[in-house]
């Protein structure tokens, strides 16, 4: 029987089996390694695009999830863990993101100069398999499990193939991210505990939704569990002030690894908030709302200024990726249909654009031998295509119209206007900041006169334009950005379809206007009940 569920399963197991083959494939030779990795990255990408094209026409939905299927690996009876896969409108774009960015990173890595290429590609494929799994897991245990599966190769790859400070960076990242992962694991277990350890509900998101909508959770439990999830996920997403691992980690990570981590894996925490934490714990999210907004503004403004101060191109991209997380957190903080839609759109767009930036930064490095932006200059005439791509990528990352990022940021601002109008000003100011550092980087590297040190280090060496091996991933990513930028409905339709059926997002914006004293006082529970009945009447489905 060949169902779409099997396709989801295949998208996880093809990269994994390719990885296993590669680990033992010392004698494969370069072309053999490339062939196997090409299969391992290409098929999941094709599957993700195929499922995305089919998604809008799906009618056979289970709680909004399409392609649902599952199998029991042995923990169902005792602790309610099942391998349950499926996609809804929130996870579909991210699943697609994992497929596309994975393919781009795979192509980039295949032609990189890494030593022991077969191990390198193998680890990257393990990561890819985890990434495909994260976003199609309905079981929140496996959601966590696949995240960890994708995280471990990151540590190893930074440690072996990383840059100058790799040993310290790998260690810092490992300890920091383990802390975040552990906190979120506790939060997820606590969430399961709210069902009274009912193995039939288990860790399944669908089961939890049904159980919690029927029974509700006390305000204290909501607050505490949401805090665990917010800070656990927050560390993983580099929420200010838990961001310090990110720029240094990315600066030292090998490019393909940084693409997958910054582009896709980091969306895990945000996705967890959008898909799990906020819908299941709406009043916890409400109580912590101010925290999210302020910390997100910290991401945007404080890290924005830090980004401006960077001279190292890769560090700058790392910081800018931390900074852009702020917009997504703001989108989540609005808890409205528009805001969440914008946040998911921005997750997708940011994932693609940051991966593109890493590809191009490495291309610059390969030509100049340095990441120091002040030490380059005048690369544009020598490598015009690279310059064009870089400028386009910077514009996308700033959020100019024509690229997917624009729609994401734009909708987040609109949603923000509705319930945190004051926060729009610093957020828009953040766009100015990104424009400053983005365009300045392009100007420093590609335009103006060549610096003396660059001319000297160049000597007689000729600099070529971007090679096909660099061009292929860059093109894939840029085309995706432009395509969604021109036709945002391609993913916004599916997002909308799911977010609109999520009672929390439909009803919450009005609740945000409830004064904070009221929201955190004893009345919260009654509020929840009132909201539940109201929702039940309106949506035919209770909170």
């Amino acid at each position: 029987m060949f169902t779409d569920f099997n396709l989801l399963l295949l998208s996880i197991f093809i990269p994994l089996s390719a990885a296993v083959v590669l680990f033992f494939g010392k004698s494969l030779g370069k072309s053999g390694v490339r062939l196997i990795s090409a299969i391992g990255f290409m098929l999941p990408a094709v599957i993700s695009v195929y499922l995305w094209m089919k998604f809008d026409s799906q009618t056979d939905l289970l709680n909004g999830f399409a392609y649902v299927g599952g199998c029991d690996l042995g923990l169902r009876e005792s602790v309610g863990i099942t391998l349950l896969l499926g996609l809804n409108g929130i996870s579909m774009p991210l699943y697609l993101l994992a497929g596309i960015v994975g393919l781009a990173a795979g192509i980039h890595a295949m032609y990189s100069q890494a030593e022991r290429l077969h191990v390198y590609m193998g680890l990257l494929l393990v990561m890819q398999s985890g990434l495909m799994g994260v976003f199609c897991s309905i079981d929140i245990f496996f959601f966590y499990f696949f995240h960890e599966l994708a995280l471990i190769p990151t540590f190893i790859m930074i440690g072996i193939w990383g840059g100058e400070g790799r040993r310290a960076a790998a260690m810092e990242m490992t300890v920091y991210l383990t802390l975040g992962a552990m906190l979120s694991l506790l939060g997820l277990i606590a969430l399961y505990g709210q069902t009274g350890w009912d193995a039939a509900t288990g860790f399944s998101l669908i089961g939890l939704q049904e159980y919690l909508s029927a029974n509700g959770i006390s305000a204290i439990a909501q607050n505490n569990i949401f805090a665990l999830l917010l800070f656990g996920f927050g560390i993983l997403v580099s929420l200010f002030p838990f961001h310090s691992w990110a720029p240094r980690g990315y600066a030292n990570a090998p490019t393909a690894n940084a693409m997958l981590h910054a582009g896709v894996l980091k969306k895990f925490g945000l996705y967890g908030l959008v898909q799990i934490a906020v819908p299941l714990l709406p009043f916890g999210a409400l109580a912590w709302n101010d925290w999210i907004v302020w910390l997100a503004l910290g991401n945007i403004v404080v890290i924005g200024f830090v980004t401006i101060a960077q001279r190292d191109l890769k560090l700058m991209i790392g910081y800018s990726s931390v900074m852009h997380m702020g917009y997504i957190f703001l989108g989540i903080a609005t808890m409205s249909i528009v805001g969440i839609g914008g946040a998911v759109m921005l997750m997708f767009a940011h994932g693609v654009s940051v991966a593109l930036m890493f590809v191009l930064a490495t291309a610059v490095y390969n030509r100049t031998g340095t990441y120091d932006m002040k030490a380059i200059g005048g690369l544009g005439p020598k490598a015009p295509v690279l310059a064009g791509l870089f400028v386009a990528a910077s514009m996308a990352s700033i959020g100019l119209p024509g690229f997917a990022n624009f729609w994401g940021e734009f909708t987040v601002f609109i949603a923000l206007w509705e319930n945190h109008a004051w926060a729009v000003a610093p957020a828009v100011f953040g766009v100015v900041i990104s424009a400053i550092y983005g365009l300045r980087a392009a100007a420093n590297i590609f335009f103006g006169p060549q610096t003396k040190s660059f001319t000297e280090s160049l000597g007689d060496r000729e600099i070529g334009d971007i090679t096909p091996a660099e061009r292929a991933p860059a093109t894939i990513l840029l085309v995706t950005l432009a395509f969604i930028g021109l036709w945002p409905m391609g993913i916004s339709n599916s997002i909308e379809k799911t977010v609109e059926t999520e009672p929390v997002y439909v009803h919450m914006p009005s609740k945000l206007k409830v004064s904070k004293a009221e929201a955190t006082s004893e009345t919260t529970l009654q509020l929840a009940e009132a909201d539940a009945t109201e929702t039940a009447q309106e949506g035919g489905k209770s909170l």
Binding site: G74, F141, V175, M182, L186, I189
Partner: protein, 505 residues
């Protein structure tokens, strides 16, 4: 004892019920006989025989779990009673014993030491551990425990021309005797209290767990009972290496021959936990007011102590020893969860699963350690692992998976073990303990990952470093070792992915 008593004793003497223990003892005696009567040229088959026969027994135990000979209920006049998890415990000890014998082959090939006695003592100790975990009478418990401990005195100082081994043996002897004394004192106090006719529910058979349990149920606040139970728990804490009875661990682990270190770290610890499980669900079931706070406090301190002290170590045997203390702390959380009715159903499974995951991962690491150790077994520094990934990718991979499992990284078995313990702790509402466990896990990443880093990440060489690069290169890994280590690694991965058929028997 009157006539009826003897009759009952005779009817419960079902030797068939302890056939695995008898087979183990038989193997030990056969090893001894082979050593006596075989010509010295043929003696190399002794280790193979020891391992093969134990693996055979293990196969029968695993495949024939259903066909237990004999009945449940008290046997041998209440001396032993098979609990619900006995099948797992037996399999654990037989497997562990076979693997210790496997490690011993590599180790002994490098030392000029008598061979057969090592296997003999190891197998006998394992057999008494198997009796220890089914004892339902304090006399039986103490006798079995002393058999185990005396065997360990021999094994720890087995390398008799190494000062470290002898030092370790002496330390283990003195502290072991101390802990036995503490345990014995506790038993005596309990016995004295329970057979005091002035107290309600006094019994004439106060050594028996069931009788004692009935007595304690009625006298849970009797000071003598509380002191006695505390001392008994302290005596067992020595075996599992929980703070404040962990003092011996680093030195003994470092000085003991590596296979013995593995034996101590795995079997001895597991035996302590299985006994603790039996006591918690048995005679001490009504002492939760004492056991819960006592064990919680021990667990927290143990986790933090083990992890914090392991950070600074450079000797891998000490790292393993101290991290083993931390693992004892995590397991104690599950023991505490067992005292709570909410967590009582999952916690025992969590302990068993965790111990099996710990067994596979630890033996994989010890396998690598034995291979890398030179003749001076006690000096195994982290620096010896430098560039292991380049020189011996296979061993480096085994090491990484073993350490990853101990650190609790998915998709390895250790992660599922930790997950189950966390869930059990959540069910029992042990939030403070969970907090300590999280802190411990995060700290543990530092030294586990540091070890992996040593093996995998090439250190930028500084001028002057070349002089220090004089560590002996490990020899090539034989096919037999490859198969054994691969099996352990595969089991670690498979247990992390599929747990079907392990739960609920």
């Amino acid at each position: 004892m009157n006539y009826n008593g003897f009759q009952e004793l005779a009817s419960t003497n079902q030797w068939g019920a302890i056939w695995p223990e008898l087979v183990m003892a038989g193997i030990a005696i056969l090893v001894l006989c082979l050593d006596l009567f075989l010509p010295s040229t043929r003696k190399r088959i002794i280790p193979t025989f020891a391992i093969a026969s134990q693996l055979g027994l293990l196969g029968v135990l695993v495949l024939g779990c259903g066909c237990e000979v004999g009945t449940s209920g008290p046997l041998f006049g209440g001396m032993i009673e098979s609990g619900p998890y006995l099948g797992y415990m037996r399999a654990f000890f037989v497997l562990s014993s076979a693997l210790v014998c496997y490690l011993a082959i590599s180790y002994l090939s490098r030392q000029n030491l008598p061979r057969s006695e090592f296997f003999l003592v190891t197998i006998l100790v394992s057999a008494s551990m198997m009796l220890l975990v089914q004892s339902s009478n304090f006399v039986m418990l103490f006798v079995a425990l002393e058999t185990v401990t005396i065997g360990f005195y021999v094994l720890v100082s087995y390398c008799r021309y190494s000062a470290f081994s002898l030092e370790a043996g002496l330390k283990y002897l003195i502290l072991g005797a101390l802990s036995s004394a503490i345990l014995l004192f506790g038993i005596v106090l309990l016995y004295g209290a329970a057979s005091n006719p002035a107290l309600k529910g006094a019994t004439s058979d106060a050594m028996n767990f069931t009788e004692l349990g009935k007595f304690i149920a009625q006298n849970a606040h009797e000071p003598l009972v509380l002191i006695g139970a505390t001392l008994v728990i302290c005596g067992i804490c020595f075996k599992i290496g929980a703070v404040p009875f962990q003092i011996w661990v680093p030195d003994v682990y470092q000085g003991a021959p590596t296979p013995v270190t593995a034996f101590l770290a795995i079997s001895s610890k597991a035996a302590g936990f299985f006994v603790l499980m039996n006591l918690i669900i048995g005679p001490f079931a009504h002492l939760t007011a004492l056991t819960q706070p006592l064990l919680s406090a021990i667990a927290i301190i143990t986790i933090l102590f083990g992890n914090l002290t392991a950070i600074g170590q450079r000797n891998v045997k000490r790292v393993i020893g101290l991290s083993g203390i931390a693992h004892a702390g995590y397991l104690l959380i599950a023991i505490v969860a067992m005292t709570n009715p909410q967590g009582a159903s999952l916690a025992p499974w969590a302990i068993i699963f965790y111990l099996f995951a710990y067994l596979f991962a630890s033996f994989a690491i010890f396998g690598v350690m034995v291979h890398l150790a030179g003749a001076a077994d006690e000096f195994q520094e982290l620096e010896h692992y430098q560039k292991l990934a380049e020189r011996q990718p296979f061993l480096a991979g085994v090491l990484a998976i073993g350490l990853g499992s101990l650190a609790g990284i998915p998709p390895l078995a250790g992660f599922i073990g930790k997950l189950l313990i966390f869930i059990a702790a959540f069910q029992a509402g042990l939030y403070v303990l969970l907090g300590a466990a999280i802190i411990g896990v995060v700290i543990s990443i530092y030294y586990y990952f540091g070890w992996i880093r040593e093996a995998f990440f090439v250190k930028p060489t500084l001028p002057g470093d070349e002089a220090k690069q004089a560590y002996p290169m490990p020899g090539a890994v034989g096919i037999f070792h490859k198969v054994m280590l691969s099996l352990l690694v595969i089991l670690t991965v498979v247990l992390g992915l599929f747990q079907r058929g392990i739960f609920g028997g």
